[in-house]
């Protein structure tokens, strides 16, 4: 579904992404971990069309992408951000936020679709006419996910989707993402600095360091400690050290 070859992104003098390549099959989930500044979010933003200054090969469903994307691209590829408070308009109701993608893409049957979307992300029907500040953090993230699903995309790009949430709410959102993927055959690319969260959802994981993808590792190899690159081993050690406490 997604094929990326020798992707490079520059910000002025700095090369933030230095030739990253990976492949994600349809219906699969690919995770990227790394520290701040490792370039993981930059890869995601280049993929989503939010950053046009890249070079290399980006192919989605066999079609080579140019820096500028058409409307059809934005229907098929959607993104969920870390902080739902920042990504939802504070003065728009949930109803308005969810109907916007339908209006943009000329999809009809708005009323029924919004009710179905709220049910799908397990929000009460009463949430439809609330404002973001009247919802909890977990509910807001559910709205952001519902909005991303309105245009019936095939690819969902997830940028730290649970980092701003309590661990109990994080579990609910991760379960929801797993259910949605199974039900709709979605392709996920997810970014997080939490290795355990990535490993929970993604069978294949790319480890980013200093703008390079230093290792791609299957989740079973990661859990068993069969790492090849020292940075992967370091991230894994940090994660397991806390679990054994």
């Amino acid at each position: 579904m997604i094929d990326i070859g020798d992707l490079r992104v520059r910000f002025g003098e700095v090369e933030a992404v230095k030739g990253v390549s990976f492949h994600v099959a349809r219906g699969a989930a690919f995770g990227m971990v790394g520290e701040s500044g490792s370039g993981k979010s930059t890869v995601l933003r280049a993929l989503s069309g939010l950053n046009p200054d890249w070079s290399g090969r980006v192919t989605i469903d066999g079609v080579a992408m140019t820096p500028r994307r058409g409307r059809d691209f934005y229907r098929r590829v959607q993104m969920v951000f870390q902080d739902p408070y920042g990504s939802l308009h504070p003065r728009q109701t949930v109803d308005r936020a969810l109907s916007e993608p339908l209006l943009v893409h000329g999809i009809g049957d708005i009323d029924r679709r919004i009710r179905a979307a709220l049910a799908e992300v397990a929000l009460p029907a009463a949430a439809r006419f609330r404002y973001p500040h009247q919802l909890s953090g977990g509910q807001r993230q559910r709205v952001a996910i519902a909005r991303a699903l309105m245009s019936e995309p095939e690819v969902l790009l997830l940028d730290e989707p649970t980092s701003a949430l309590d661990v109990s709410v994080q579990a609910e959102v991760l379960n929801l993402l797993a259910d949605l993927q199974a039900r709709r055959d979605l392709t996920y690319v997810m970014v997080s600095h939490n290795l355990a969260v990535i490993a929970h959802l993604c069978p294949m994981i790319g480890v980013m360091q200093g703008g390079e993808m230093v290792e791609q590792i299957g989740v079973d190899d990661l859990r068993a400690g069969r790492t090849k690159h020292p940075h992967t081993a370091e991230l894994r050690a940090l994660s397991t050290e806390l679990e054994e406490a």
Partner: protein, 275 residues
């Protein structure tokens, strides 16, 4: 005992009557490391901040006993509290981006904190600032002292915050989610640094977080809060023996590398926990 809290309750007025944010919390703290764990809204930050009397003005606070080193915080005036805040008890907050002054260099801010409490000359303060930056293990303290907050990474910013809080040699540090905004690797570095400084200076530490395994790794004792109450108090080593269903739920719902589960258990909240 440095801090004694007995039956603390904090309420906020609302149109439908007072809503209780903290309900009957009792805690004692000596020169040790106490972790307070709970979700957003569990009252963990309010409890810790009540020790410094740093609550919103509309908060109604009541307690049978609330003392810092024998000083009755509830009855203490602002002058007394100013002698405690910063000087004897420091507060480190979540995001250095919002806690540091963006138009002052890191060195100037630390020097200002040092002078406010130690009353030395400009030159002494500058030297102290560089010495403090060295103590929080910044490799090039002279360069960082001259840097503005936007030129520092999150981890460096948090080290600067810690250096500033250490300037008056406090007896206690309250760290409110000090590493939530940081990467996993930096997070571990900062917590190890705090652990080391606290041990070396014989300080007390209150570490507030929503990450139970993380807190128990760095503290001696952990108090678990739910809806304004301490539902369970554990020694950090006894985490595996936690009995309260809420504590167990918090532990189980985290994804782990060593114990994969196809589906994460979700917390089933029992109304009985509220009583």
């Amino acid at each position: 005992m440095l801090v004694e809290i007995d039956n603390l309750s904090i309420a906020f007025p609302s149109p439908t009557g007072d809503s209780l944010a903290v309900r009957g919390v009792s805690l004692k703290l000596g020169a040790e490391k106490l972790g307070i764990v709970g979700e957003s809204g569990s009252g963990k930050s309010l409890t810790a901040r009540s020790i410094l009397k740093l609550l919103p003005p509309q908060a109604k606070v009541a307690a049978d006993r609330l003392t810092f080193d024998g000083i009755d915080v509830l009855r203490a005036g602002e002058a007394t509290m100013r002698g405690i805040r910063g000087r004897r008890a420091g507060l480190i907050m979540q995001d250095p981006k919002f806690s540091l002054n963006p138009v002052m260099t890191a060195g100037e801010q630390i020097a200002e904190a040092w002078r406010a409490h130690k009353k030395g000359s400009q030159r002494q303060a500058r030297a102290a600032a560089i010495e403090l930056l060295d103590q929080v293990r910044i490799r090039d303290p002279k360069r960082v002292a001259g840097a503005y907050p936007h030129e520092l990474s999150g981890g460096m910013g948090q080290r600067v915050m810690i250096a500033m809080m250490l300037a008056p040699d406090p007896e206690m540090l309250i760290a409110d989610e000090p590493t939530s905004a940081l990467d996993a690797t930096v997070q571990a570095e900062i917590l190890r640094l705090m652990e080391d400084l606290v041990a070396r200076r014989g300080m007390a530490l209150i570490l507030i977080s929503h990450d139970l395994p993380l807190v128990s790794h760095f503290c001696d004792r952990v108090a678990v809060m739910y809806a304004g109450r301490v539902v369970e108090e554990l020694s950090a080593a006894g985490l595996a023996q936690a009995t309260h269903p809420y504590t167990r739920g918090l532990l189980d719902c985290m994804p782990t590398l060593s114990h994969p589960k196809p589906r994460l258990p979700v917390l089933a909240r029992d109304p009985a926990w509220l009583t």
